[in-house]
């Protein structure tokens, strides 16, 4: 115990003080200034009071306070001279506070009297008082005969009040319809993030491209697409989707169907014999999807495959959507439209 450790040196002082305190208590009890408590168990009295009266500590505290003042004025000076110098500003104000802290702690430990005293705890519960509260409250219902009726009516009114108060919450959001419908439909061109349309020839093997819908809102959750070109050896789309990948170019929603982060990691084999197939990975929780297999999940927490967008190439060589997403994009919810894959 910490109190037992350092005490041998102080024990004579503590004992003397304990006697003094006991004497004081006895005098106060005798003179009626302090109510006599319950008889204390035979135990040491830890009360003590030491007056350090150290001139050296007072000097140190004064020096610290003055040093703090230098830092404090320094802060104002730095602010006026170069208000953007975050390091100097922080050093000045932080230094001032740290020096003030040192001054206060040293004053608290070495300058002012060090006292250890004993306080009695309140019993908190006094039975008679608890009974009195109940009596006073019950007296307020004196002469009221149909309490059940009033309580019931009050309960109904209370429920109505809460319902009425909670109703405006509904006006916070629009009603649920077409959650996460996207701007992607047949014929919409794929733009890059600076607004230029993608030519099919722009899409190279081994890297991914981010595409946004022409004429659509780029800030919409369903706007972003991942576009990659895959060589035939990696392209194993489900039979129904064979026409979705002109020239081996496939497009998927960029939004992870786990928790709505944008997928921005693309793994492409650099040395075929030892590498695994190309995959998209979400940087938030590392759900990993195969673009060559219709967005099938191979690792991570996502509960669904990555939604795929059918593509086509128009006569001028531009990439266009060949239709809408075949399932809902974005994170799953109760009534989300799930794909078949």
């Amino acid at each position: 115990m910490s109190t037992g450790d350092g005490s041998p040196r102080l024990r004579p002082i503590a004992r003397t003080l304990a006697v003094l305190v006991a004497l004081r208590t006895a005098v106060r009890t005798a003179t009626g200034r302090e109510r006599p408590g319950p008889p204390a168990p035979p135990d040491v009295d830890p009360s003590e009071r030491i007056v350090p009266a150290s001139r050296r500590a007072e000097t140190i505290v004064a020096a610290l306070l003055l040093a703090a003042a230098v830092f404090g004025f320094g802060f104002t000076f730095v602010y006026v001279v170069s208000g953007e110098n975050t390091q100097l500003l922080g050093l000045a104000v932080g230094g001032m506070l740290a020096l003030l802290a040192a001054a206060a702690i040293i004053a608290g430990k070495l300058v002012v009297p060090q006292e250890q005293s004993v306080e009695q705890r309140d019993p908190l519960l006094v039975e008679e008082q608890a009974e009195e509260i109940v009596e006073i409250v019950e007296a307020g219902g004196e002469g009221v005969s149909r309490r059940a009726l009033l309580a019931g009516a009050g309960g109904v009114a209370g429920a109505a009040l809460i319902t009425a108060a909670a109703t405006p919450v509904a006006s916070l959001g629009p009603t649920l319809n077409g959650i996460h419908t996207t701007d992607w439909k047949r014929g919409v061109r794929l733009l890059d993030t600076s607004g230029r349309p993608y030519l099919a020839a722009d899409i190279e093997i081994g890297t991914f491209y981010t595409a946004l819908p022409e004429g659509g809102d780029p800030e919409h959750l369903g706007a972003g697409l991942l576009v990659v070109r895959l060589p035939p050896e990696f392209l194993h789309l489900p039979p129904a989707r064979q026409s979705w990948a002109p020239d081996g170019i496939v497009a998927y929603s960029k939004i992870c169907p786990h928790a709505a982060c944008a997928i921005s990691l693309y793994r492409y084999p650099t040395y075929r014999p030892t590498s695994v197939e190309p995959a998209f990975t979400c940087p938030c929780h590392y759900s990993t999807f195969l673009p060559g297999e219709g967005g099938r999940l191979v690792f991570g927490p996502a509960g669904r495959a990555l939604p795929q967008l059918p593509l086509m190439v128009d006569a001028d060589g531009y990439l266009r959507a060949a239709g809408p997403f075949h399932e809902d994009i974005g994170p799953s919810w109760w009534n989300i439209h799930r794909g078949q894959s």
């Binding site: 922080g90 932080g94 740290a98 206060a104 959001g173």
Partner: protein, 490 residues
């Protein structure tokens, strides 16, 4: 000098009389000045949280004077060259401007961010102290519930704070929050729509809503709860560790005036000083590096604040369970890690006092604290539970191990899916036996020494004076406190 002192004393008396004529509060003031604080370093953890909150309110008020919760897209033309001509939201621009164009703006923003991290950390450490010493027992159970509520609010508050900036990190965090909201079985989509005012990234009223939550609703609630927390502590007095003269019905320590007040003010100033030094000298959340958020962007290097890590870890560790019947997704996957896991952790913590009472049948009032070793089972359960949460927290950084040390990410996840259950069980048994052994030998885990004391005589002979085992037995004051009879409540 004496004259001056007497004049000052007279002035002070006149001031006190002025106050007394109006309030008559002498009795309360005297009570307050002699209010006793037990001295133990672990009692300062809660104070650190309180003082971090004060710094948060101060620095946050400054930040609120500059922040604009606008989602309209603008083009940046400020002093930061790398963002020149970049399209971004008004909110993000206002925070970049605050950081680079407002004198001392970055200092306040970084000090605020550091303070938030320290605030939550201090609450968690304080909670550990409360748990392992049994300070949550009657009469402090209600205050323990208030503290847990404040921990929940503090985490929410921190998340709302860094989400306001609308940089890439906040956008990704909000996207995940949206995913978790939608994952609540049945009501998720409606709830997400209500909160965001439409599908993610939400309507233009979303940022103002988040701001009012961050600067008014949660801090206001926290302020009320902190007041309640302190008033209840003052009424019941602090708990204390057992020691000479310390009993269930008294409290031994330093009176508020003058030593404790000075030391506590010193702690406030020290906390503020450290936070401002950190804010000035140690960069945190460099929002200009992440860039503005757009739903189609994300990046890998930005990590959220530490107190979100346990949720990230849980979301990442979870296998891809997503039970669905036809088109009805019963439980979307983010629910497990993002909602069920934190709910479970808090439900267990809220229920703990009742669970313990059920097994110990101890309904008494306790004002003396337990040393962790004296309650081996409780300490072991706490250590196991804490390690379970901390392992999941650590799993949130497995990707850093992969990027820096090239340890396979998938292998790490597969390993921890088992480890997260096995390791806490081991920790339970190790902690319990360590506690039992410490209680038996009554050595201090850090201060203990092992050996024999000998004296070498003038003739070179060596006499054995005793060894560590004798020493502990020769000091009755260090007997295990478990043997001290507890005073029962009358």
């Amino acid at each position: 000098m004496n004259v001056l002192q007497r004049t000052l004393e007279r002035r002070f008396l006149r001031g006190t009389r002025w106050l007394e004529q109006r309030l008559g509060a002498a009795k309360g003031i005297k009570w307050l000045l002699s209010y006793v604080f037990p001295d133990h370093w672990s009692f300062l953890l809660g104070e650190i949280a309180l003082y971090a909150f004060i710094v948060l309110v101060g620095t946050g008020t400054f930040l609120a004077l500059y922040y604009i919760p606008g989602d309209s897209q603008v083009i940046y033309h400020g002093p930061y060259a790398l963002l020149q001509g970049e399209q971004m939201s008004e909110a993000y621009r206002s925070v970049v401007d605050l950081s680079f164009s407002v004198p001392a703006g970055l200092l306040f923003r970084q000090a605020h961010h550091w303070a938030a991290d320290v605030f939550v950390a201090a609450i968690v450490l304080h909670l550990c102290r409360i748990f392992f010493t049994g300070a949550y027992r009657k009469p402090r159970d209600v205050n323990y519930f208030i503290g847990l509520t404040m921990l929940m609010l503090a985490i929410l508050e921190g998340f709302a704070g860094y989400s306001l900036i609308d940089d890439l990190l906040s956008g990704m965090g909000l996207a995940i929050a949206y995913g978790v909201a939608l994952s609540l079985p049945g009501i998720g989509a409606q709830l997400g729509y209500l909160v965001w005012g439409g599908p993610f990234p939400g309507s233009s009223s979303f940022l103002p809503r988040l701001e009012i939550v961050h600067v008014f609703l949660i801090p206001g609630t926290l302020a009320v709860l902190i007041t309640l927390h302190l008033v209840m502590i003052m009424r019941q007095h602090h708990s204390q560790f057992p020691g000479p003269g310390r009993r269930e019905r008294n409290v031994v320590g330093t009176p508020l005036w003058p030593a404790y007040a000075l030391r506590s003010i010193g702690l406030l100033l020290a906390v503020a000083g450290v936070l401002f030094l950190l804010g000035g000298l140690v960069q945190i959340n460099p929002i200009w590096q992440w860039g503005p958020f757009h739903p189609y962007l994300s990046e890998n290097g930005a990590q959220p604040d530490w107190y979100i890590g346990w949720l990230i870890g849980a979301l990442r560790l979870m296998p891809n369970w997503e039970p669905a019947i036809g088109n009805y997704t019963l439980i979307p996957n983010p629910f497990w890690g993002g909602a069920a896991f934190p709910l479970f952790v808090f439900i267990v913590m809220f229920a703990w006092p009742a669970i313990e009472r059920r097994f110990t049948r101890d309904h008494l009032r306790h004002d003396l604290l337990d040393r962790p070793r004296d309650r081996p089972t409780r300490t072991a359960i706490g250590a196991a539970f804490l390690s379970w949460v901390m392992i999941i927290f650590a799993v949130g950084s497995t990707d850093r191990l992969f990027f820096r040390l090239h340890i396979s990410y998938t292998a790490q996840i597969h390993f921890w899916r088992a480890g997260v259950w096995v390791l806490p069980i081991l920790i339970f048994f190790i902690t319990r036996s360590a506690c039992r052994s410490l209680r038996r030998t009554d050595t201090h885990p850090m201060r203990a020494w092992q050996g024999t004391v000998v004296r070498r005589g003038p003739d070179g002979s060596i006499t054995r004076l005793g060894d560590s085992a004798d020493r502990t037995q020769s000091r009755p004051s260090e007997e295990p406190v478990g043997t001290v009879p507890a005073e029962s409540e009358r």
